[in-house]
Subunit: 278 residues, 6 copies
């Protein structure tokens, strides 16, 4: 069944029940070209509709690194001799489709935990920023690298990163200078929730453990929490409160509520129903 | 006079001039049921109109904890056999009135300092998030607990918590997993301004001291600062600057300005007029 | 050429290529009166149109401090006996012009690095908050001081500071109480990116070094990154992604892209064209 | 039962099933003072929670006019010798409570039809603008009168009127000049849906007939339509579509849907359940 | 080539150069079921990427009517016995996909002219509202019909219709009461730009003529105008001005500008290049 | 004194007290080049700060027409051989300065009445749309002409026109097709408030009469009304109500209020104080 979520560049396994582990697998450095990111977007859209998957862990299958970022050949898509407006219009659509592939992580209804180790440069930050939670192996090293290839990061880093870490001074320093930063600094600024000693193996293990905890909770509650936190990020408090009331006028009718209440009394682990397939 | 602000579940005292100390008092665990939160909301609306109270400290009178959260019986209000739309419409109003009781803390014109110790779970986070400043006793332990009872937190945590700590990775981890976190972690993520060694007594003392400092400042300046910071949280910089100019076209006419200037010269403590009763 | 950017109260030099160092120079304490802030605003508007300047470092020329804040005489501009509405309307315009002078830092297309040492009180925070990156000498001491003179900070601190540090609890405590905070706390909360051991000389040196790194990058990429991060701060993720695609439909046509790609292959330092004069 | 919705200045009757007719009744000119508007606000909040009332018609019981507007004595509430900031703070709360009384019309979940005849000046426009639909007797005469008493309309006209008529040129002319306009012009500009020949009696009859039609429809559908149209007025299209999907994920589960479908087949008038009491 | 844009329920022809005529063709009443609307959405997404099509006319191939609205069977998709939350979640996705099919009209970069005749009920209004311009045959009859089937219109009417006609009084009357309205009233309220005497044949002819005029203009200018008007509808004036400057920093580099200028001098019809394929 | 407001291309007179008549005067067709629009912007910024001018009438001094629009030579400013990004960045600033000159009309605190006759094409619509009220001589003819020169209108028409007329169908038809429309159609769609029989002389006379009426009202009330209506156009109802309360907490302290009340009793024309100079 995991095969249904695998691709040419992504491995898929179920390390624990309801937890899907997706791993980038394009040696030697997981460089992203168009085919790769479109595949990733499509898989997350598929996960979104599945009901059994409750949490995704997104990691790299390569022992040395998460991803070195975009495949430089993907930047040279457009003919520099073309008339600027036509070239620009086609560039815009290309960017939007690229953005959509990354935003599919955010739009996937279940939580996605990004698990990084080694080099995580450029597009790595765009991808990790679209995850809900980030864990980093101690050997992780990050860089908002886009300025070094002559462009402003347009696939999500500038949109999401400052809202994740809540630190404009550091965001701008890192984005202007492309200075690499390590796991500890990433933790201190709030980019990652936790630093896991070790490398790939250890951080994936920790991410799967966290995912397993989340997967044991009421799926209706978890999915609603992700949905409402995304609304909260992009809206004033008052509007979010009002939206939340509208969301919960239905969600509070879930059978998960009495199940959770019952298990609290009996001290047994509650067994929740899976989400509906969409 | 403090009695005017007391209730069935809330004690009210004036530890120092212009500082109101409100303490939850529903043994054994300050569990919140509808009567409790409506009472709290009403008291804050009353404080808002008073002119003499300049700062509120919100704490628990129970030696062991802040609050264990919602009284589980308050969740079972609606008949699961009722037709879903009717049930949903009534749920929505119930949520909105609940939200309004908590938002009364935020809408109260003077600063509110939340002072926590021991367990502060579930609704505790919603309440503390509506305060302006939070101090924590070293023995505090927090949890965004709602997912464990099968629901997405709808009374303010999802709306306010991420904007307080500015850390989306941690917000989501805590909200999805309900992992408890201690005072030090709360401080590091920015949920509380300071950790006070000890428990209830020590943190309340520290909160009252901070409140006393703030109460010595120009009330017009403090009230305006709270008002404008709330606007700032929910609006773009440009709109906030414009709104601020409109606010201060009146507020700068306060006699507090020459009083403050005068006391700067004479090195005496300035004595400011109280706010108008509303 | 640096003289073109100097003023009566601001020194201007070019410590390294493309890096402009502006230094406040109104002894004894760099107190800001109207003439001073209007001059500063005008200089930043001039920098914005220059093409050769790629980064600005904003510091103080006085060895002891950054700035003690507003010149108290600038507060007494209006006649308290004037009819309140007329007085208010004129106050509003006065505030808006003051805000515009500070916002000129933010609106300047190239990055501005604030470099502080010693006392940085009141208006210092408004000014530093309008910078992109902040470095602090270890002897820096900050205070959101406005409440002490009887007013709510209206020149940018309340609008920008909480969005820089992403910590509402601390923002409000500092703004209500005017409590001074030192370099280390400023770093921990995210107000400054780094603490530099020493005082004026050391921090200016560090700021110029960082500026020099940034000045070596593609100016089109850096300018776009600043522009898009400001948009990101004030807009939802989805709108920012869409705006970014529209911005980059042109910006990706820059010759800096092939230059950067070429230098990546040849391992030579890329030489980018300056921005167009405006 | 109608008495439950009557007040000292408002008559209440049920001309047809589920239709509440509220009539202003403060001779000689329905001048509004604080007691009057607070009473009106309270009644609408009560209607909002009732389940049996499906439409409200808001009219005047006086044969000659709708209302001449605010009772001039209500403007002189504040002491001109009071210190401006204190006076201003109290004025602000007074305005907000006044606004809340008028907004109660808009916030009432069922549609409100404003039925005007004769003079409808000043506050009359604020009140009518908060209604969902407006009908006018041919002898109606309107004026945005506030400028003539020295103030900018602050109880809703400036917020709602331009969004009702979608004509900025006329809105501003009428608001700046206070020029009275008659029923036909009001119809042409879109302020009223229809002009009814005659005066009070005729227009109330027409309003009740329209109300009766609406009251025969699915209350869940009508209430949802009002709710979503208010959201639509204040939000971008994309956000409204998303909110609508969230609203209807519950609302489409109403038994009114199969009832409506069934009656379409049987050609019988559908009988819908009333809304839940809140 | 027109066949590339035809479908099972939509006819496609090119009545004049660069003008695509799409006609609903599902006798007897163009009732929309899921297959139909998904097909329509897919075709508009295809048109969006074509470069040669400059305007679309959307009409009905049936001589008697535009469309009677949704196929009632499409409403009964969900099992009423299913648990409400699961049912709701699946309903929400169903609505969103339905909305996306209609929004594809709006998101198609070239103008779409809706051409209606005869009955245009329910979904007809959602579809026409997503068009840029509407023409109506004199025999057209419209109704916002959704309330009669027990639901609030959720596919676009409530989001777009009030912003098209700029008349809240009429919008709400029509939406609450489902009252049918004829071509002349539709014209007077601004829903349609023009009433064409006659029926299907005449209005399609008029729409194609208007389309042909638009197709003769600079495609870059027309596409930009549509894009910026959609932005204008959903954003404040200041933000739209700023966005427009960013859009036109590229778009003004089009060769269409000198072509248009040249043809103005030579009085010859300008020949513009087609848009780039996407 | 009127000379202070005149320019090389604008005549200035005071036809009645407090009313400034500004007339475009660049024969033969009032074609706008950069010098012309910058001059106009500067004059409106000057008017904004004057206290005696209460209303502006903006018209053309040429007997035949309002303006034929932009001087075509102003479009050819940029070198088509320049590198696209540099060219684009300079274009953007050029547009923004142009926009600012037109927005100065809107930002001028007193009402501006646009008075058109004869041809009013292209930029004429941008300018008239920035006015508060528009009157048209019967011989007026309008066109949103920009598409005919190969560009999307970027100086204000697309931002303001649809919000003035509240009719998206017509806005788009006119903007895509450049179809000219006459005074009567302009009136019917709400672009102008009134059609005045005749040409230049008659419409200017009517505009001055209307201006004179407005100039007799309380300047504080009129200026506040303009300010709040602009806020209302760009913000949700709830936010506008809140902003209005903040504005009026000061503005209601104007001496104009008792003056207006007094004159209502004595039936004498009230004499209001002028606004403060800024």
């Amino acid at each position: 069944m995991a095969d249904a979520y695998a691709g040419k560049f992504l491995k898929a396994t179920f390390p624990t029940q309801h937890v899907l582990l997706l791993e980038f697998n394009r040696p030697p450095v997981n460089a992203f070209h168009e085919e790769f990111w479109l595949e990733m977007g499509a898989i997350f859209r598929k996960v979104d509709r599945d009901g059994d998957i409750r949490v995704v862990v997104l990691a790299s299958a390569l022992p040395k690194l998460f991803t070195a970022g975009i495949d430089i050949t993907a930047l040279g898509k457009f003919d520099p001799k073309e008339e600027p407006v036509a070239r620009g219009f086609r560039t815009r659509v290309y960017i939007q489709e690229f953005q959509a592939a990354i935003s599919a992580i955010e739009e996937c209804r279940v939580p996605v935990i990004g698990s990084s180790h080694g080099v995580a440069y450029g597009l790595a930050i765009d991808i990790l920023s679209a995850c809900d939670i980030r864990l980093a192996a101690a050997n992780s090293i990050f860089s908002i690298k886009e300025v070094d290839v002559g462009l402003a990061a347009d696939i999500g880093t500038l949109a999401r990163f400052p809202k994740i870490i809540g630190n404009q001074s550091l965001t701008r320093e890192l984005a202007f200078s492309t200075r690499p930063f390590k796991a500890d600094e990433a933790h201190q600024m709030g980019f990652v929730s936790r630093v896991v000693p070790g490398s790939r193996e250890e951080v994936v293990k920790a991410a799967v453990e966290l995912a397993t905890v989340i997967a044991s909770k009421s799926p209706v509650a978890v999915v609603g929490t992700k949905h409402l936190l995304l609304h909260s990020r992009d809206n004033p408090v008052r509007d979010n409160l009002s939206y939340t009331a509208t969301w919960n006028q239905l969600a509070l009718q879930t059978p998960d509520l009495p199940i959770a209440a019952g298990s609290a009394l009996t001290k047994k682990t509650p067994q929740f129903r899976s989400l509906p397939k969409l």
